[in-house]
C-alpha cells in the first residue's frame, strides 16, 4: 500500500484497503472556520446531538473575516465563541491567530499518520507532514462533531517524482503551478497526489505545504509527502509514526518532473490551470500585489519578498499588501526585521487573516483592476469585482512585480 492507503486502512481498523473502496474512518482532528463553522453549528443542533464526541479534537479558527469586517461577520464569530464555550472546546483560535491551515499546524493538530478533515477546501495542506487530510462541508463537519467518524472513498494515487535543483527565485509555488497547468483543473478529481523525489526531500516544510495546499486546484482529495526529519523538526515532535509507502505500492500513474529547467510560472485569469511561464505575461500592468494566504504567507515567503524589496520601492500607483499567515509568522518576521524592510519599501502590512484571498476584506478589487497574488485561486469575482483580473504567482514574482508595476520575472530584477 502507499502512504494514503496505509493511513486510511489504519483509521478504519482494516489490514488493507484498495482504491475505490469506501471506508468509515475515525477522525483524529476536525477544523471549521468562521465561514463554514456557523453552518456546522446549525447542522449539529439539527442532528440533535447534545455533546461533541471529543472537544480536544475540534479546532475552530476565526480567520476569514477577522477582525469582523461587518456586523454579520461579528455575529458569525459570536456563534462560534458561544459554541466553543458551551461544548468545552479548548481549541478556539480567535481573531488574530491566523489562517486556519497555518494555525492547525502550529497548534499541534497535525501529525504524521493522522487523519484530519476540515470544513475548508485547502485542508489538504497537512499532507506536507505525512498526514491524510481533506476538505469537507459544514454538515459533514457537524456529523464528525457528533460521531468522530466519516466515510471516505479510497482514492487512486498519482505519484509525482520531483528531481533537480531549483534556480534561485524559482520556488515550490512555481512547481505546483506548472503541475496544475499540466494536469488540468479536473485532472485529479477524487485522487490522491503523492510527492516524492530528491527535490521534495530537500524542500523546506513551507514549500511542501505550498505543494500540498494547491492539489485541490486539480480536484485532488489529498496531497501527501512521506514524513522525514525536516517535518518532525518543524512540528517539534519527540517521536512520530513515520508511515511510508511500501516499495511495491500501487500508483495509477507516475510522473517525473525535473525542476532544473523550470522558470517562474503564472496562472492567468480566470482559472488556476491557465498557467504560462512568466516571460509570456511580463508587461501585464498591475494595480495590486498580494503576498499572503495559506499558500504563501509563511516566514520563508516573507523573507523572499523582503530580499527582493530591500532598498527598493513599490511602484507608485501600485498597492502591495502583505498578510502574514499567522501571529507566529508575524512575530518571527518582526524579529527578523522583515516587516520594517517591507514597510520601508511601501508595503501595507495587515493582521493575520485570509483577507483579500477570498474577497472578504482588506483589499478588494474594482472593475478592470489587475492583481498579482501569491494565493491559490483566480476565479471570476474571487477578490472583488467580477470584472477584475487575478494572476497567481510565487511571492518572489509578486514582490518583483510590485516594484516594476508589471508582471516581472524576479530574476530580471536582480540582474
Amino acid at each position: 500500500m502507499n502512504i494514503t492507503e496505509k493511513i486510511l486502512a489504519k483509521a478504519s481498523n482494516q489490514k488493507t484497503v484498495s482504491p475505490k473502496e469506501i471506508v468509515e474512518a475515525n477522525v483524529d482532528a476536525v477544523m471549521v472556520n468562521d465561514l463554514t463553522g456557523p453552518l456546522a453549528v446549525d447542522s449539529f443542533r439539527k442532528i440533535g446531538a447534545k455533546k461533541v464526541w471529543d472537544p480536544s479534537k475540534i479546532a475552530i479558527v476565526l480567520d476569514h473575516l477577522a477582525p469582523a469586517s461587518s456586523e454579520k461577520a461579528a455575529e458569525l464569530h459570536k456563534i462560534l465563541r458561544k459554541f466553543a464555550e458551551e461544548q468545552g472546546i479548548p481549541g478556539l483560535y480567535d481573531v488574530g491567530e491566523g489562517v486556519c491551515h497555518q494555525v492547525m499546524v502550529e497548534k499541534g493538530y497535525v501529525k504524521p499518520g493522522a487523519l484530519i478533515v476540515g470544513a475548508d477546501s485547502h485542508t489538504c495542506t497537512y499532507g506536507a507532514f505525512g498526514a491524510f487530510s481533506t476538505g469537507i462541508g459544514s454538515t459533514e463537519a457537524a456529523a464528525v462533531f457528533a460521531t468522530g467518524k466519516i466515510w471516505l472513498r479510497v482514492p487512486e494515487t498519482i505519484r509525482i517524482d520531483v528531481v533537480g535543483l531549483f534556480h534561485s527565485y524559482v520556488t515550490p509555488k512555481d512547481l505546483i503551478l506548472h503541475i496544475i497547468g499540466h494536469i488540468g483543473a479536473d485532472g485529479a478529481i477524487y485522487k490522491s497526489i503523492e510527492f516524492t523525489g530528491s527535490a521534495v526531500r530537500r524542500m523546506s516544510v513551507e514549500g511542501r505545504m505550498t505543494l500540498c495546499n494547491m492539489v485541490v486546484e486539480m480536484g485532488a482529495k489529498n496531497g501527501i509527502i512521506e514524513p522525514d526529519e525536516t517535518a518532525i523538526k518543524y512540528l517539534r515532535l519527540e517521536s512520530a509514526e513515520m508511515v511510508k509507502s511500501d516499495p511495491d505500492a500501487h500508483y495509477e500513474k507516475v510522473l517525473e518532473i525535473d525542476v532544473s529547467s523550470l522558470e517562474p510560472q503564472v496562472a492567468c485569469p480566470h482559472s488556476v490551470d491557465n498557467v504560462k511561464p512568466v516571460s509570456d505575461v511580463s508587461d501585464v500592468e498591475i494595480d495590486q500585489a498580494f503576498i499572503g494566504s495559506c499558500t504563501n504567507g509563511r516566514i520563508e515567503d516573507l523573507r523572499l519578498a523582503a530580499q527582493i524589496l530591500r532598498g527598493k520601492n513599490v511602484k507608485k500607483g501600485v498597492r502591495l499588501l502583505i498578510i502574514p499567515a499567522s501571529r507566529m509568522v508575524y512575530l518571527q518576521a518582526l524579529r527578523e526585521g522583515l516587516i520594517e524592510t517591507l514597510m520601508e519599501a511601501g508595503a501595507v502590512v495587515c493582521n493575520p487573516t485570509c483577507g483579500p484571498c477570498l474577497g472578504g476584506h482588506l483589499g478588494l478589487l474594482a472593475e478592470d483592476e489587475v492583481c498579482i497574488s501569491s494565493s491559490n485561486r483566480n476565479f471570476i469575482g474571487r477578490m472583488g469585482s467580477v470584472k477584475a483580473k487575478i494572476y497567481l504567482a510565487s511571492p518572489a514574482t509578486v514582490a518583483a512585480s510590485a516594484v516594476t508595476g508589471k508582471i516581472t520575472d524576479p530574476r530580471m530584477l536582480e540582474a
Binding site: 440533535g48 483543473a185 479536473d186
Partner: protein, 165 residues
Amino acid sequence: MIISGKAVKFSDNVDTDVIIPSKYLVLLDPNELARHAMEGLDPGFYEKARRGVILAAGKNFGCGSSREQAPIALKYAGVKCVIAESFARIFYRNAINIGLPVIECENVSGRIADGDELMVDLENGFVKNLTKNATFQATKLPPFIMQILKDGGLIENLRRRLGVK
C-alpha cells in the same frame, strides 16, 4: 427517485465562487442565499430557476471552496438535481449531505441543450432527454448514498441512525 424538469445549461469548471460569491457567505438564511445563486455567471438565474429546473453542466462542476452554501443556494433557488460530466468532490459530498441529488453522466455538453425537458432516474442511473427522445446511462449512486438522499440529507439520516426523536 425520479426527478423531471427543464435543463439550465452551464459549461466546464463552474466554481463555487460563481455559484455563490463569498460576499454572501455571511448570510445564514438559505432563501437569501438562493437569490444570489449563480450570480457570478448569470444574474438572471434565480428568476429562471424558481419554477424548478435541472442544472446540466460539463466537467468539474462545483470546483473551488468547501462552502456548503453553494449547493444550498442552488437547492433553495429551485434546482432539483445537478447532472454533470464530473463533480468536484467536496461539492458532490455537500450536495448529497444537504439533500440535493447529483448524478454523473458522460457528454452532457453534447446531449443536453438549454431548455430540454429531462427526466432523471437516480436509483437506476439514467437520464432521459424527452425533448430529443434519447436515454443516457449515468453513474448509479451506491445504496448508502441513495439512502442519505431519500432521508432528505445527512442530518435526517444521522437523526435516524442515532435514534434521535
